[in-house]
């Protein structure tokens, strides 16, 4: 059945909308419960969202309103920048303020879904740099690193050990 001819079921439409919302909510809950940074788990300084293959926003969960609509422009930029050279499982890190980034301290993470069909799902999360690996001497670090301790020494960071603009692995 073609897209145009597909009958729209109002109930199913609502199911889709609520499903999108549940997914972005669960992404936020997952990040909140796994991060070690109080900026994320207590201040909830991040937003999660889902985007289609063209970078169109399907839904988002804005934990801090100031970040509400800051992921969409970056997603469209990434889609345009890489063209068709994005593959299932690819992860993109982005914080360049001159290519639609929000601010340098905010690192957006996008993951292309692993769907076997021609459709992909972006899974971005935005937050300040210190996240899963504790304090770092960068960004709005909640506390300075202890004397003699190297940044990233205790655990590999999902965010800060990757290249600042793009990465294809690490999550």
């Amino acid at each position: 059945m073609s897209k145009a001819a597909h009958e729209i079921d109002p109930i199913l439409l609502s199911v889709f909308a609520r499903a999108f919302k549940s997914m972005t909510d669960e992404m936020s809950i997952s990040l909140q419960k796994t991060t070690r940074s109080p900026i994320l788990c207590e201040a909830k300084d991040f937003v999660t969202g889902m985007y289609d293959g063209a970078g169109n926003m399907l839904e988002q969960t804005e934990n801090l309103p100031i970040l509400s609509f800051s992921l969409g422009p970056v997603c469209k930029y990434i889609v345009e920048y890489f063209g068709g050279d994005i593959h299932p499982g690819d992860v993109i890190f982005h914080n360049d303020v001159f290519s639609m980034g929000n601010q340098n301290n905010d690192v957006a993470v996008y993951k292309r879904s692993s769907s076997p069909i021609d459709w992909w799902l972006g899974r971005p999360a935005r937050g300040t740099r210190p996240t899963s690996a504790g304090p770092f001497p960068a960004g709005t670090t909640p506390m300075p690193p202890r004397s003699g301790r190297k940044p990233c020494a205790s655990r590999r960071s999902r965010f800060t050990t990757a290249a600042p603009c793009a990465a294809t692995s690490g999550i």
Binding site: D9, L12, L13, P65, I66, S68, V97, N102, S113
Partner: protein, 172 residues
């Protein structure tokens, strides 16, 4: 999500996704239709650029409401600073969308259809969209005065539900 697609199929998903965008766009357009067509102007000041205590900068917005579309034009805003108080396009546009959404109806679903009737013009090189290599560390802190400018412009025609200052840091 994959199980969801397996159950309903890609065509069904695509059709309902577009229908969702369309329904959401109509919701936003219906809210815009309640605002009298015309041009509305708002201004707010920024009192610190990160380096100079005595310099002030103006955020000026011209909001045009017509044909169920809204254009936010920041072309008359002051130029970027030589300090670290400069905005980025994404941060500034996000504040504009959020502020308007809070003023009209924050319960509209947040998807592509919601933002389609909105156009945001922020010339590069202005305080809300600084050009390379400007420092932008405090860009997010320009969101409240940005919201103030929008509220001052639209408050006469959207008097009920106007959020307080600092709307970008709180949800109504």
């Amino acid at each position: 999500m994959l199980r969801f697609l397996e159950k309903y199929g890609l065509d069904c998903y695509e059709a309902h996704k577009q229908a969702l965008f369309e329904a959401t766009r109509r919701m936003m357009e219906a809210e815009i239709a309640t605002i009298p067509s015309g041009e509305y102007h708002g201004e707010a000041m920024v009192y610190y650029d990160g380096r100079n205590d005595d310099r002030h900068y103006a955020i000026r917005v011209k909001i045009t409401v017509q044909d169920r579309r809204v254009v936010f034009d920041y072309s008359a805003s002051d130029a970027q600073t030589n300090g670290f108080v400069n905005g980025t396009y994404t941060s500034s546009a996000s504040a504009a969308i959020l502020t308007f959404l809070q003023m009209v109806n924050p319960d509209i679903p947040h998807n592509q259809g919601m933002v389609e009737p909105l156009e945001i013009i922020i010339p590069r090189g202005t305080i809300l969209n600084a050009a390379y290599p400007a420092a932008t560390t405090y860009g997010n802190h320009l969101c409240p005065p940005n919201a103030d400018a929008i509220i001052r412009a639209l408050a006469p025609v959207i008097p009920i539900g106007s959020p307080p200052d600092g709307t970008t840091c709180s949800v109504r």
